[in-house]
Amino acid sequence: MILAKKLTKRCYVISNVVLAAMLTNVVFLAPALKMGEAFTAGLATGMAVGWAIFAVSGYLALRKPGAFFDERFAAIQAVASRIAFWVLVLALSVLAALLRSETLAFEPEPADLAAALSNLGLATYLVAAFIASRTM
C-alpha cells in the first residue's frame, strides 16, 4: 500500500532487480527441478508478464506521479487484498475438512491444489479490485 502511494525511483529499481532475479532463477534453475516443460514455461511466462506490467506501469507512474498510483488506487488494492485474504482463508478451511473426510475421498495432487489456491487468490484479487474500482 505504501509502495502504491509513493513509488520512488529507488523502490522501482529494487523491485525490478528482485523480479529479474526471480525470473532468471525460474528460467535457469527450474529445468533442474524437472517440473515439466509446460509448467516451467507457464510459470516463466506468467512471471515475465507480471514483471512487464510492473515495469511499464511503474515507469509511467514515475514519469507522472499520482497519475496511476495514488491514494484511491491504494484503497482499491487494500479492499481487494482483504477480500482475497478472507476468500483464501475460507477456501483453506473448507479444504481442510474435505481432505480429512474419508467418505468424500477427495485426494487431489498437492501441486494441483497449491496451483488452484494461488490461482484462486489471484483471480479473487483481480475481480475484487475491478469491482472496487467501479464503486470507489
Binding site: K64, P65, G66, A67, F68, D70, E71, R72, F73, A75, S133, T135, M136
Partner: protein, 67 residues
C-alpha cells in the same frame, strides 16, 4: 460526504485532469470524489481546498442523519 468540488473546480476554470495533476492524483480519483464515491484523505482534502482557493468546510460537508 457531500462535496462541491465539481462546482468550485468549474468556477476556477480547471479541468479534472489539471486538478488531478496539481494535486498529484489521477483524473479517476477526482471523478470519484466529485461523484461522492470516494472520500479523500485529510491531506488530499486540504490540498484540493488550497488548490481551489476554498476552505475545507466550503468544499466538503458531512451527510446529515437520515439523508
Amino acid at each position: 460526504m457531500h462535496n462541491r468540488v465539481r462546482e468550485i473546480r468549474s468556477a476556477a476554470g480547471l479541468t479534472q485532469e489539471e486538478l488531478g495533476a496539481k494535486a498529484g492524483v489521477s483524473r479517476q480519483t477526482i471523478i470519484s470524489i466529485e461523484r461522492g464515491r470516494y472520500d479523500p484523505s485529510l491531506s488530499l482534502a486540504f490540498k484540493l481546498a488550497a488548490l481551489l482557493g476554498a476552505t475545507l468546510e466550503e468544499l466538503f460537508h458531512p451527510e446529515e442523519e437520515g439523508t
